[in-house]
Amino acid sequence: MSYLSLENVVKTFNKTEVVKKLSLEIHKGELVSFLGPSGCGKTTTLNMIAGFLEVDGGKIEVDGKPVHLLPPNKREMGMVFQNYALFPHMTVYENVAYGLKLRKVAKSEIKIRVQEALEMVRLSGYEKRYPKELSGGQQQRVSLARALVIKPKVLLLDEPLSNLDAKLRQEMREEIVDIQKKVGITTIFVTHDQEEALAISDRIAVMYEGRIEQVDTPAAIYNYPKTDFVSQFIGEVNHIQGKVLEAYSDKRCKMHFFGNEQIVAIQSVKDSEVHFFIRPEKVQISLGKSNESKEAFLSKVERKMFLGAKTRYILRANDQHLVADISNTVLNPNQIQEGNNVYTFWNPEDLLPSRMVR
């Protein structure tokens, strides 16, 4: 049973459809990220859920009740904005207490709840400060406390961390997830940082041009992308193409890559060209031929880049480039020099067949 549901939601700006029949079901207490490139409609969708934009079609339901016709102040959703949006003329205490005052909560209770909320975001003692007297991270925590103190039905975060520096961003995202799990609030987290989305989400909705391409757990999105866009957008990929030598009846084919044969689980016809993606960390290399690498082909190391825990090798085989990321504990990078020939191979399961038609 889903708690928040979007059904065929449409938004049109000046005759261009920016959100196109978007449907999504979110369970109670779940953290779902909207991930996608700039301009794909993440903020627009979030604003429709919060009520700042009217939907031009479809409906939005919370807990079985339609909300898409309610004004934003009646929707009981907490929102955290990218630029914090704290009330500059109010102290931290007044900012957090604002929503409670509007709900006519008793003064004594407001005091207790504000204190609790500030404790939760580790900002007790900052009650009397004004927003401009706080750092960016602290402002964002006040903003989170202000949104959560009213016990909203849904928490909406629009790129809440993008104005913070890298280290703080990582700290804050863990803090947000901790709080989200503790409170158990249904949450939508908008981001265009895939690492962020992979790290914190229960599920990720990958968006592209106003549509949701795939909704899945981070692992499933990464390992089993359903569309070419998702394969290319999440993580890095090598494009490779091969020729079908023989098509078997059990949805497998014998493929020909880089002068080498391999049996892959795809459905195709004999002699057709098939495109695949493979992630750099799934490409393996070795100096000698071993049991593991019996289907290996030779390629030349064109460049070698030391990246800390791993080393990136740019390989060339049959006039195609191939990027391989190898952990330095698996293969000592000193053993391989630029210009060397190495055996290159992969697990057939790691090939992501493309739907691309060229």
Partner: protein, 305 residues
């Protein structure tokens, strides 16, 4: 090596000093024309007027030779003159208050509109400033005089039996002043409305506030600096204005600038006119200082992000 670093540092220091000097000269050079005009045509005459205001009146030459405080004493001890001071300040205060109430909604609408509509609105608001002060005032005379448009309409409708006295009253002066001064207020309020981050408004609605509540809890407090700044401008312009009260108020509604004019140009009593002029400057300055104190306080919590 050590020595080398020392001289290098010295050189750097010298160069820095040179640059600084250069910069200062540039600044002064750029300010020079304005400064010259300001000193020769404003400060100097003002200074002579100030000295004159402490001289006795001489019926034949205007300015006498003796020093005296009599001009100031005469003004401060005469209920008639004090009444003029009170009227001047009262008219300025009423004008300021009315412009605030008229301008706020206008500024609000303009800052909400976009594109072409916005340009037209702005032009409309600025239009009083485009017409000559005198012509604009005579326009009001045509409207407000005893057989003017307003009275004639009311008479022909049968709503009144005798023409109302509209012209040459404090009311007509206030009307004229509001008309010419409200653009300043609109622009000032618009400036602070535009500084408000739209997501702050959304945050307020998101937390459960109606538009009405959002206006009074968020928008209004955040635009107070603009309201104050506009008030300072409108007040100081109206307290010292001459043409509008002269045409729409005349001798019946004397204000301080009119008194000054009367003393200097009609009575040829330069010392007394100078004293009145100086008291006017004093009143305006005190008000502006008081206002800016309030302004500084109201901006304390308001971050310009």
């Amino acid at each position: 090596m050590q020595v080398g670093i020392g001289t290098e540092n010295d050189l750097l220091l010298k160069q820095k000093k040179k640059n600084l000097k250069r910069k200062r000269i540039d600044t002064w050079l750029l300010l020079l024309p304005t400064l010259a005009i300001f000193i020769f045509f404003f400060l100097l005459p003002l200074f002579f007027l100030f000295i004159t205001s402490f001289k006795t009146f001489d019926p034949s030459s205007g300015i006498g030779n003796e020093w005296t405080l009599q001009n100031y004493i005469k003004f401060m001890s005469d209920p008639f003159y004090l009444g003029v001071v009170w009227r001047t300040v009262k008219i300025a205060l009423i004008t300021t208050l009315i412009t605030i109430f008229i301008s706020y909604p206008v500024a609000f609408q303009i800052s909400k509109s976009r594109g072409r509509a916005r340009n037209y609105f702005t032009l409309l608001v600025l239009s009083p400033l485009l017409i000559s002060m005198v012509i604009r005032c005579y326009g009001w005379v045509i409207l407000l005089s005893n057989n003017g448009v307003v009275n004639n309409t009311l008479l022909s409708l049968g709503w009144i039996d005798e023409p109302l006295t509209l012209l040459y009253t404090e009311l007509s002066v206030v009307i004229g002043m509001v008309h010419v001064l409200f653009p300043y207020m609109v622009l000032s309020i618009m400036g602070s409305l535009e500084k408000i981050d739209p997501s702050v408004i959304r945050a307020s609605q998101n937390l459960g506030a109606s538009s009405f509540r959002t206006f009074f809890s968020i928008m209004l407090p955040l635009t107070l600096p603009g309201v104050f700044a506009g008030s300072v401008m409108v007040f100081s312009l109206s307290v010292s204005s001459f043409v509008t009260p002269a045409i729409l108020g005349g001798p019946q509604v004397k204000v301080m600038s009119y008194l000054t004019y009367e003393q200097v140009a009609v009575m040829l009593n330069w010392p007394y006119g100078g004293a009145i002029g100086f008291l006017l400057i004093l009143i305006a300055s005190i008000t502006i200082i008081a206002y800016s104190k309030i302004l500084a306080r109201s901006e304390k919590g308001v971050a310009i992000q």
